[in-house]
Amino acid sequence: MRFTVNHMVHYQARLDATFAALSDVTRRGVLEQLGGADASITDLAQRFHMTLTGMKKHVSVLEQAGLVTTEKVGRVRTCRLGLRRLEEEAAWIERHRQLWSARFDALDELVEHMKCKEKADAQSKRR
């Protein structure tokens, strides 16, 4: 009893971007690396024995998939793992809270109606 159609569409898009990002061994390595500690593009390029330009491209793909965020301070661009999973979870909880609020508001109304009806029935029986 869940409502999944909207979410499935988003999920498919997320899957496409994620699979594309994960299809490359270097990018998977970068994620693992960032799972241990943040790193600059220069660090990553050295560690994976590639040019700065090559690493920039990889990081950009990961960034577009929401798996990595980058921040430039001065001349150094620092990469870290994206918070997308946490954000998605918070958004999902909020969607569910809205669903359940709406659902329970309707139940509240119905219960109120039933309560009044029960009272009225009891009174009419006493007469």
């Binding site: 009893m1 499935m8 799972g35 909020e94 359940w100």
Partner: protein, 166 residues
């Protein structure tokens, strides 16, 4: 994050949704009515269908069959404007104890949750606790991502990686 609304009683955040553990999701709310009334609204299909599908969800309920007793089954069929095919949700009532508890399975997926609804009356008000227990953490994650499909292995690995970071 949810915006805190203040002022009117209707805007009070009375419906609480919580990810209680890796595999559990809990929704609670208190209703201003004795438990036999609240339980009736959950256990009679003609009443249940009047509130279970909020208009804002954009769904219409095509049919609602519920045999609310221990061992009985249910089947709800919805239509969503984004989907050509109707969606069916079905399962079995594992336990029905009047005015106390309803437990049902969600069998439309093999990773479906077990749902337990408990009713507790206190001073003429009834607290309802809606609890979903998923078979695995991955199944709840999948529900969080909103898919009825299996979670691919890479994604599970990625989630582990990200979880280790969080």
């Amino acid at each position: 994050m949810p915006k805190a609304k203040e002022g009117s009683p209707a805007a009070m955040n009375r419906t609480a949704v919580e990810r209680k553990s890796d595999r559990e999701l809990v929704v609670t709310r208190t209703f201003d009515a004795p438990v036999h009334i609240v339980f009736e609204a959950w256990s009679k299909p003609e009443l249940f269908r009047r509130w279970w599908v909020p208009q804002s969800a954009g769904l219409s309920l095509l049919s609602c069959d519920m045999d609310v007793r221990t061992g009985g089954t249910y089947r709800l069929v919805f239509r969503h404007p984004m989907s050509d095919q109707p969606m069916a949700f079905f399962g079995t009532y594992r336990e029905v104890t009047p005015n106390e508890r309803i437990v049902w399975t969600n069998e439309e997926s093999d990773q479906g949750a077990v749902t337990t609804v408990t009713f507790e009356e206190d001073g003429g008000k009834t607290q309802v606790t809606f609890h979903e227990l998923y078979p695995t953490e991955a199944a709840l994650d999948e529900a969080l991502a909103g898919s009825a499909e299996g979670l691919p292995e890479q994604f599970a690995q990625l989630d582990e990686l990200l979880a280790g970071r969080a």
